[in-house]
Symmetry: C2
């Protein structure tokens, strides 16, 4: 007996596979609706509970959202929110002492340098960056400041043109919001951060990838002085 363990597939996993197959075959994309839970249950010959558990998984993975009621907007609708899912994932694993802050900061630095380099190469999205900068100037609390700071760095990632990396960036920021607020409060003075942001923006406007990368590196060193 060579450990014949088919690892019993649970029915909700089967439903998941069927849904995945169906989505791929029918070429469904964001905005399209899935059949109703009861209908799916009948079609697949399983109970509604199993269908619901599969739905919960898809929802957790940022693939569908569910609306109650009736009409075109009701039911399970396909979406594409990898960042939502990533945020929950990171937040939980951070809270569960699975990861050190250092590991997260380093990851952020890696992503941000990459994004800055590529954003400078394309020179796109500078208006969103400038808007975030203005938002930070108008901020009257650490929370507000961090909100616009997040917008700035996410805009940077968006400008890189890589949606996967942008999703990583957004998720990291979302998962770390509380820590970011703490960091800003500890720092007190945000003028040094502002200077960093302006330097980044200038480098991107100038189309200088290497300067953009350096600017981001220095900026993060300013934001987390204890780790550098």
């Amino acid at each position: 007996m060579p450990d014949t363990r088919p690892k019993r597939t649970r029915t909700f996993e089967d439903v998941l596979a069927q849904l995945e197959r169906r989505i791929a075959e029918d070429g469904l994309t964001a905005g399209d609706r899935l059949p109703a839970e009861r209908q799916l249950a009948e079609e697949l010959g399983v109970s509604r509970s199993s269908v619901r558990e599969a739905m919960r998984v898809l929802e957790t993975l940022g693939v569908v959202t569910s609306q109650v009621g009736r009409g075109p907007d009701a039911g399970a609708v396909l979406v594409s929110r990898p960042d939502h899912a990533l945020t929950g994932l990171l937040r939980l694993h951070l809270g569960l002492t699975g990861l050190e802050p250092r590991e997260v900061i380093d990851t952020r630095l890696m992503i941000e340098r990459w994004a800055a380099t590529h954003a400078a190469a394309t020179g796109a999205g500078t208006s969103a960056l400038a808007a975030a900068l203005e938002g930070m100037d108008a901020a009257r609390s650490a929370e507000e400041f961090v909100e616009h700071d997040t917008a700035f760095h996410c805009a940077l990632a968006d400008a890189s043109g890589n949606r996967l990396i942008a999703a990583f960036m957004r998720s990291l920021r979302d998962a770390m919001r509380v820590y970011a607020v703490e960091a800003v409060e500890r720092l007190g003075d945000t003028t040094v951060l502002r200077a960093g942001h302006e330097r980044i923006l200038a480098a991107i406007r100038a189309g200088d990838p290497e300067e953009a990368s350096r600017a981001v590196t220095d900026h993060l060193a300013d934001a987390y002085p204890s780790l550098f």
Copy 2:
């Protein structure tokens, strides 16, 4: 009416929050057991279905696994598998045409360069890298080759010492396994890949971060010639 929408929290979300709080307060870590579903349902005053949906979410996020039966190993056990969760997430979003291959490859390159640079700085984990190299030499099919190739690159990420980045790497590889096999088959000859691996390993042994980064960059260019 400023759109007063508390966005009705569903009971399974409440269960999720309670579980999260309890895990944090009791200082539970990987290996510890959660109460049984029926018991949780009674304690929280909700139905077992809601508890199960919450469990499914936690399972999807790589925080718990469930074992049937009885005894110390049965029930919902806390784990820490961000990579598992990430894999499912990436696989789905890739399949749902949400992302271009180019975006994934670029992400991989970013991670891999970072990992190589830092692995070279520490010089750790070279034995795992060497073992993976041998495995690739002994491989007699593209699948086998990719398996050990994946091991090599994951070992590289592990050697960097950053578990979050290592989890990203592992997930990317898992989600892309089929594409990697295709790429190897299309390539036919793997000697160029072997040379790349040896160059990476040598750079890490020599403790030369910059050479390691260059070696990884060239290696990926060899693996995906059409994208460079």
